[in-house]
């Protein structure tokens, strides 16, 4: 278990380092950020001075090291748009995204479990419902933003049931959460259903029946085994979820880190992009680390290894 843990943490650190390097390189391939920071009409000398003050005139390698030094200490230059420490800006937006992502994740997981049980576990008479899966296929085919647009149109405009923009009241979260959940639910539902079927088809489920367990009990035991692959997919989908927040938050003007990323990119707010992406990457990798560790806790075979 401990070597497993060390190995996992090591890989995560590696992934974070690599991903941040990529971000750093892409940003630096685009030229001198000082040009952006300087006020309009600044002459080249001023820009050079600013560039020097911020260290953008150092060799790339030095900047690279400095960047990691700063990133480790959570220090990023001030956001150009907001003129505040970039990481602070990100943190201020954090709660909104956490609420949205949490709500969406809850919705998606509940929906996926319901659909998975409904279609994955056949009843004793062999009948099973397929139609919820069609819903899943359909959801899977609908782009995030389109779901958002349709929800705004129908529930916001036509029916007027929910607010369609911003995070002003508890009901505001409903539509964006649905839009975001719609993207995450299909893979979860599918993997849960498939693995439930696989587990039910495995000999131990048959053993359960042979020992006199009822159908419900057999399914319950099988569901535990199906959770593991589902959690793995959940970890992978964390990426999709974070990516989804970018689009969904834009559609619904939800004041979270996703929308912040877009606006920072659009305004070429270089420090903010760095801070925001660093943060998102960190979250993604940590989620996956947690998933891996959850695996270690939930699966006795992993738990006892090494």
């Amino acid at each position: 278990m401990s070597t497993y843990l060390i190995r996992r943490v090591g890989l995560s650190v590696l992934a974070i380092w690599g991903a941040l390097s990529v971000v750093f390189l892409i940003l630096h391939a685009s030229g001198d950020p000082a040009l952006l920071m300087a006020p309009a009409g600044a002459d080249p000398a001023q820009i050079a001075a600013l560039s020097h003050a911020l260290g953008y005139d150092r060799p790339l390698g030095v900047q690279y090291l400095a960047f990691f030094g700063d990133a480790l200490r959570g220090q990023f230059p001030d956001s150009l748009q907001f003129q505040q420490p970039a990481l602070e800006v990100v943190f201020q937006r954090l709660a909104a995204t956490a609420v949205l992502a949490g709500a969406a994740l809850g919705l998606a997981v509940l929906g996926a479990l319901a659909i998975g049980f409904g279609t994955g576990a056949r009843r004793v008479d062999g009948s099973h419902r397929e139609w919820p899966m069609w819903l899943v296929y359909l959801l899977q085919a609908v782009p995030n933003f389109y779901i958002g647009v349709l929800l705004v149109w129908f529930f916001g405009v036509v029916l007027g049931w929910f607010p369609t923009s911003g995070a002003t009241e508890p009901a505001s979260v409903v539509l964006p959460a649905i839009a975001l959940a719609a993207g995450v639910l299909p893979p979860l539902a599918r993997v849960f259903r498939t693995s439930l079927r696989t587990e039910l088809a495995r000999p131990y489920s048959r053993t359960g029946t042979a020992l006199g367990m009822g159908r419900g009990r057999v399914v319950r035991h099988a569901a535990y085994g199906s959770l593991l692959p589902t959690i793995t997919v959940l970890g992978l989908e964390a990426g999709a979820l974070l990516g989804g927040t970018v689009i969904v938050e834009t559609v619904f003007s939800w004041p979270g880190v996703g929308q912040l990323a877009i606006s920072a990119l659009q305004n070429e707010d270089y420090p903010l992009v760095l801070a925001d992406l660093t943060f998102l990457i960190l979250v993604f990798v940590v989620i996956n680390l947690i998933v891996d560790l959850a695996y270690g806790v939930l699966d006795p075979r992993v738990r006892h290894k090494g």
Partner: protein, 574 residues
Amino acid sequence: MSTLLEVSGLNVRFPDTGVLAVRDASWQVPAGEVLGLVGESGSGKSATGLAVLGLHGPEAVLSGSIRFNGEELLGAPEARLRELRGSEISMIFQDALDSLNPFRSVGAQVAEAYRLHHPVRKAVAKQRAVEMLDRVGIAEPHRRAKDYPHQFSGGMRQRVMIAAALINEPSLLIADEPTTALDSTVQAQVLELLADLQREMGMAVVLVTHDFGVVQEVCTNIAVMYRGRVVETGNTRQVLQDGRHPYTRALVASVPTMQDEPGGTLPTVREVVTSLVGPIDDEALADPDLRIPEGREYESGLQPDDALTTVVDGALLLSVRDLSVTFPGGLGKPARDAVQGVSFDIAVGESFGLVGESGSGKSTISRVVTGLQAATTGQVRFDGAELSGMSRRSLSRRIQLVFQDPYASLNPDRTIGDAVGAPLTVAADGTPALSRAELRRRVEGLLTEVGLDPELADAYPDQLSGGMRQRAGIARALSVEPALLVADEPVSALDVSVQAQVLNLLVELRRKRGLALLFISHDLTVVRHMCSRIAVLASGSIVEIGDSADVLGTPQSEHTRALLAAAPDLERVG
């Protein structure tokens, strides 16, 4: 004695695939007795066993009658079946690893089996479970109850499974090949345990198996299945020694035994049947009413060939000296010494056997010899040359391997001809590349040699049966005309009836080509049949090596004796 379970006219059909798994099967088990249900793979043994407990899914259509203590089970309500399952009738399955829930401790699983039928508190059930684990021979049951299945060995897992199945003291146990996945010594222990418990509890057992040796040891009665039909039932001794149905007789005849003269041609099922009732197709053979005509006996065609089994004093071909192989441990995994200080020689044209239990290092040695695995220390010389110094290509001209699993040894995306011909397309040094037509001719020649229709060159592996694939694999190995053929358990995945054919083929090839053979198996009878010299391997080291007759006749090591004792052997009436 009263009849406990009576199966009559049972049919199991799978409409989706159109398979009639069981046809009009009838047999019965008296209370407290053991019935062996035997037959080759796919003959419907499991389908019958599952039918008794109503464990078939909705995709199976059942008809006929299954009476347990006079109560009709077929069509009984699910609730009633659930009551019976695990308490009155229990079932254990072949693969113990998968039959236990990997996510729950074994104690919890056994306890749950108890609680399903007894309304007791958890602690009480736990206590019962620990007692039961103790009874099936798990040491330190209290501590081990908290462990998970993967922390147990195969035999232990099967014991746990037995504990769960028997904790409610059922009157009937259906054991579906409970020991086939286990080592022969472990197999013997588990069977012994089953037999003990059967006597103690006085329960009846239906033992599903394809191993006549096992049947002979533990079963009072036997039912032989073929193509979904029960072709013969009766007292074990009588059926095995004097089967009235030609199929039964043929099946028994094709198993090599310790009494046979080694090295001869084994009778195949087809041969025996033909000699008994004349040419007949499979379907007609499955007719339960078919009987061997009075006075007809199979004329044993065994012609022992001394030249093949006696020790040859040919030139040294392969010499293995102090071979050790250690698999490096990964993160948190200890390194593993798979082979330690093994030395042996094989002479030109000699047939050398390697026996040992699972994990004793047999395959590792075969892989080192064929160059698939590097030796950690020690040396392997082939024809005087150091093996590690030979290129893959030149090595491949001299030594070839026949694999255990005929299904995985052929690329499903390539034709048989392509697979067999591939080594030929690698031009040997100095020889010109073969033309297309020449290649085809050579491939057809090889196929004919191993007894396959040359037309099959264009077939894909999935169109071939296991036996045919194994022949194709042998043809591929022969294509480069090697001097040494390594066969790693070449028949253990095959049915007895097919096993005889492949063994016969190997014997014949040796005779014709003068091939040297390194034959690996865990089955003593088969090794004895094939080899003139054998080495017994135990945890990576050779514990005994010598002439086949000496080693098996007067075993010197404890280990060999255990192996011999565990091998259930069929006593055939001469």
